[in-house]
Every structure is written in C-alpha cells, then in structure tokens.
Symmetry: C2
Subunit: 201 residues, 2 copies
Amino acid sequence: MCERRSLPIVGQPQQERADAARNRRKIIEVAAQMIAEQGAEELSLDEVARAACVGVGTVYRRFGDRAGLVLALIDDRERRFQSEFLSGPPPLGPGAPADRRVVAFLHALVDRVVAQQGLLLLLEKEMTKRTSGPYQVYHVHLTALLGQACPHADAAYLADALLAPINARLIAFQREERGMTIEEIKSGLAHLARAVTCAGP
Amino acid sequence: MCERRSLPIVGQPQQERADAARNRRKIIEVAAQMIAEQGAEELSLDEVARAACVGVGTVYRRFGDRAGLVLALIDDRERRFQSEFLSGPPPLGPGAPADRRVVAFLHALVDRVVAQQGLLLLLEKEMTKRTSGPYQVYHVHLTALLGQACPHADAAYLADALLAPINARLIAFQREERGMTIEEIKSGLAHLARAVTCAGP
DNA sequence: AGATTAACCGGAGAGATCTCCGTTTACAAC
DNA sequence: GTTGTAAACGGAGATCTCTCCGGTTAATCT
C-alpha cells in the first residue's frame, strides 16, 4: 500500500515542484543581491519576500528560518571547501602527515570565516536549535586527523576545542577590537595545534 | 563652569532616583521568578514589563536590551565568582602555581556555565554588539596566569582559545547530543591547558 | 511650602520573525 | 482535455524587540 509511482532520488526530497524550485532560486538570488548591496547584518526575510514577489510564508516553507536561508546562501562555497579538505591536494587534502593537515585545515577555516564574516555572524546568532551541518563535518574530519596525530588523547573533545576559537564573533572581535592580524590568529592556532599533537597522554 | 553640587560616587551613575531604583528591583525580581517558573528560553521583556506593572519603555531604559537584563540577573553570582578567583583561597585564588590556577579556573568556569546554562544561552545569543563585561575580566585574568605559566607564548591569544570552548552552546551540545559528562569536558580542558603550558615556544 | 527641572514613566507604534489556513496550482493518471 | 490531489502559495495575524515622545514625578533650591 501507499507505493510511490516513481522511485525517489536518493538524498533528494522526492523532486521539487517546478514553481517551488523557481521560487527557491529566486529567493536565494534576491537575498544574495540584497546582501551584496547592503550587508548581511540587516537581512530581513520580510523584505526578501517582497523583493522576490513572493509571500513570506513561501520563504519560511522553503528554508525553515533565517538560519536555513543563510545556510543555503553559503552552500555553494561550502561544498567546494569541503571537497578541498576531503579530496583536494595536500597539505589540506590527503597525502600530507596528519599534524600538518590539522594546521592546514584550521588555517583554511580561518580564511573561510574571514571571507564570509557577515553571513557567518548571522548564522551563529540564529543557530540555536540544531547544530549546523558544516560543523558536524568539520568535527568528524578533525577528529579523524587528531586520532592519527595523537592516538592517546580524546580526539573528539580536542576537535571541539580547536574548532571553538574559529568562530565569526571571536575572530571579528580579535581583529577589530584587539587589532590582531589574520596571521597572528593563524599562528596562535598553529601553536595550539602543535602543543596538542605533540603532548603526551 | 558647570560644576556639580555633590561629587559623583565613582563608578556609580550619579545616584538613581527612588522610583527608578524601585522599578529596577521589581523588574529583576519578576524576571527571576518567571525564569524559575518557565525557563529562561522564552523570556519576553514585554511579559516581564506587564508582570512588573511597568511600561515596556521602563524595562528598556533600565537595562538597555535583553542582554542587559540577563547580565543584571547574573550579576550577583558573577561578583562572587570573580572575587573567588581574584582573591579567594587557592588553587582558584592566588597562592597556587600558575599552571594549577589555570586548570582550576577553567574548571570553575565550566561549573558556572553548567549552573547558569539557561541564562547564558540567552546571553550568548543576544550579545552581538558589545563583548560582555565578564568575558573581558576572564580574559585579563587568564592572560596573566598564562603569562606566568608559559612566558614565551602569545598569552592573550591562548586565553581566547582556552575560553572559547567554555560556552553554553557548545557545552550543552556536548552533554546532550554527544553524551559527554562534565568530568570528561573538564579533563579534556585540563589536557589542553597542560599541553599549552608545557609546550615550548 | 512652593517652584523648578532633570529624570522617569507609559504605551503607542515601527518593523521584524514566524505560524496558520483558505485558496490556488502543477503534475500525473485517465 | 479533464480531473483529482498533494503540494505550494500568499498574506493576515500573533508576538516580540526596541524607539519615541508627551505627560508625570522625585529631588533640590529658595
């Protein structure tokens, strides 16, 4: 009973209706442009809906909430980034020793945060319920690397602890209020990573 | 010219009018009770105002915004905590070696986050503009300790990095989703602190 | 006590987030 | 083409945060 006519495409939500897909694209496009024009800080979904000639309900049905829309906006770049550290050239991708990959990964994350500051600030603020998909991926990846680099430690916790200082709020604060440069931040992280991967059990 | 009649009390905002002080107390009291009853998650300043028999404007004039009210609610406990690590008995207070004080401090911070989870979650979410007063104090304190424990490193950055994993969001996630215990979190932090304070330049 | 005034008060209102539900529409089956 | 229906649509509305401003009051000076 209740058999489906066409087999579902795995991972895809059963095919999206044409109007739905069109609206999704339009909303993302309009939102991206609004952010380019007036910054991410004051992105209003009401306004996005109006500019996209779509009801507010539609925006929320497509993306769930603010965080969902921001996640969708980041998605493209995020995919590329993930493929880089999962299967790209070393030292970020496989082929380099684990401890070097750890540092390369943390540095790449810093660059990503700096590049997407506005959107990530918004995302971090709004993301109270679920944990972001990207974070989960980073954590799995870093845990694996740390497991190789220092097999005796609690790699899962260390991964959380190394990821924690790489967030948009803190980095913005360090750069704007503390006057730190990106290089100083990266070198601090490298120091931390080195200490962790070299230390005894 | 423009001389003041009575010298201002240093640090105090020039004395608060009686009705203003009464309202401040009432608002804090009502807010604390509402949180005790229904959790911090859904604290509405509108509702607080209504329950305190006060206009919304009054709440915002007294506390600035949500973050301000939450900060005021935390204040008491916070003062005590600060005096403990600034002038209380060792190993938290002065008297113990710096590296032991670092660990004691981080552990005390974890306990504080666990004890105040609800309010701190709210605070972290709302605190986008200014950085919280408490954080600044923690950072100064930890930077000083790290400066003693490992004079060669960038103590200011390490302080940020060690404080970053001690936030309500992450700890709630680690406990609820990852199933970690408080002891596991503390031991992970201790490991990290040890690695940092022992590592070479 | 009476007058003066700076500080405070209340609550309407702007603008935002998100929900709900009656109406409309795309698509598949016939 | 017609038809049936699940999915999508739109936008009014419930709440919330925070601002603004005309009216009120506590504290001070005479």
